[in-house]
């Protein structure tokens, strides 16, 4: 069974790359749209609302297919990797937006009032008072989202990107060892998810340092 491993792991690079790049994009979008949804301007709130609802309301696989098959009709032909990162990143950014928003709201009102009383600028209030506290509540749900993202990367195999899942499918076609290949694939994803969970725990401990 283990001799199948090297061929499978050829897709590991793509899976990890996709997860990392989409996480960076998704994280940035989650912050921007999370803050945007709390904006005073109704236009910004509307725009972020539309972004979040469209990407949460349609399915990830539909988004991937749309960007891969339908966008070229507009003359925009993107490489598979870019489509993967964009679709995954925008999808998880929309889910993350809600996480960012709710953890910012959860910061006690008194903290913001204290910051105003200390004559802090809005930027200082955000960076020094609100975000460090919101960040702690954000980490566990963001960790869960990161696992969902890792699982979501398997979908890119359906738009012909050669990730772990794709290598599994093509290896199955050449060797016919179906059960072993799918079992191995599941185990590899499980190990990857385990690393993410461990990393997020570490981050959580670090963020909680010096607090009781």
């Amino acid at each position: 069974m283990l001799e199948l491993l090297p061929a499978l792991l050829r897709g590991l690079g793509i899976t990890v790359q996709l997860t990392v790049l989409a996480a960076v994009l998704g994280f940035a979008l989650a912050f921007i749209s999370g803050l945007g949804s709390l904006s005073k301007s109704s236009i910004i709130r509307f725009v972020t609302g539309v972004y979040v609802e469209i990407f949460r309301g349609t399915s990830l696989l539909v988004q991937l297919f749309w960007m891969f098959y339908a966008l070229p009709l507009f003359g925009i032909r993107l490489p598979g990797m870019v489509v993967g990162v964009l679709a995954l990143g925008m999808n998880f950014g929309a889910y993350g937006s809600e996480v960012v928003r709710s953890s910012i709201i959860a910061v006690p009102r008194g903290q913001i009032e204290a910051a105003i009383a200390l004559n802090m600028s809005p930027g200082q209030r955000l960076w020094r008072i609100i975000l460090p506290q919101a960040w702690l509540t954000m980490i566990p749900p963001l960790g869960n989202l990161l696992i969902e993202l890792l699982k979501g990367t398997a979908l890119v195999s359906l738009i012909t990107l050669a990730d772990l899942a794709f290598q599994g499918f093509s290896l199955r076609e050449t060797t016919g060892r179906t059960t072993e290949i799918y079992s191995l694939l599941l185990m590899i994803y499980f190990v990857l998810a385990f690393f993410i969970t461990a990393g997020m725990r570490w981050l959580e401990r670090r963020a909680a340092m010096g607090r009781s």
Binding site: Q63, F65, G168, F169, L186, Y189
Partner: protein, 217 residues
């Protein structure tokens, strides 16, 4: 670029396929409700190996991709066990177990929220275990979790396009077939996206309202 005539021409076929999508969602969710409850109860078992095995199973299923699980059920299980499923059955089982592991956590949070006094009262009244669960614990544990379950129902609905990968002809697969027949993917895929949005957005508003009402009580 966007061809209205073509859009209206393909719409009936896609609308017809919505039925398969919804049927798969409902069947999968019904199974997930049962699997979730079973897992939540097994996890509480006093027999340690059983509860540990359940936790392990939940963690494993939750952290591996549904797509691979579907392939496993559809292609690998028939080879190793001799039991084979239709695409719809395999899809229902995959969705049911995958989301069952999520729902088990929801049940768990509901059960954990029941005050100790309720258990003690049941014991004091000499209720059997079955009666304690069915008359005291579950009727109180489940209602507060309904909005969370609703959210998982919506999430699951949006995962049904994955079943196209195991040859189930649901909405996305229908759109793909139309696309490859007519060399036009824009309209069919856009329509599928719009239909998903049209169904899932009102549903999520409904769940939010339900959540708000429960909080008011």
């Amino acid at each position: 670029m966007w061809d209205w005539e073509f859009a209206f021409y393909v719409m009936p076929d896609i609308l017809k396929a919505i039925r398969v999508t919804i049927a798969a969602t409902l069947a999968g969710f019904a199974l997930a409700l049962a699997v979730g409850l079973a897992l939540a109860l097994l996890r509480r078992s006093a027999f340690k190996p059983l509860s540990l095995a359940t936790i392990g199973f939940i963690e494993f299923v939750r952290s591996t991709p549904l797509l691979i699980q579907l392939f496993f059920i559809f292609y690998a299980l028939p080879l190793s066990t001799g039991i084979s499923f239709s695409a719809f059955q395999a899809g229902t089982i995959g969705l049911g177990f995958h989301y069952g592991t999520y729902l088990s956590e929801v049940y768990r949070s509901g059960i954990d929220a029941i005050p100790r006094g309720q258990w003690e009262a049941a014991t004091a009244l000499n209720f059997s275990r079955l009666r304690t669960w069915t008359k005291i614990i579950l009727p109180q544990a489940i209602p507060p979790t309904v909005p969370v379950m609703g959210n998982y129902l919506i999430a699951m609905f949006k995962e049904t396009p994955l079943l196209s990968a195991i040859t189930l002809v649901e909405m996305l697969q229908t759109a793909k077939i139309i696309g490859s027949d007519c060399y036009r993917y824009l309209e069919p895929f856009t329509l599928v996206g719009i239909f998903f949005l049209l169904l899932s957005y009102p549903a999520s508003v409904l769940v939010k309202r339900l959540e708000f009402q429960l909080k008011q009580q």
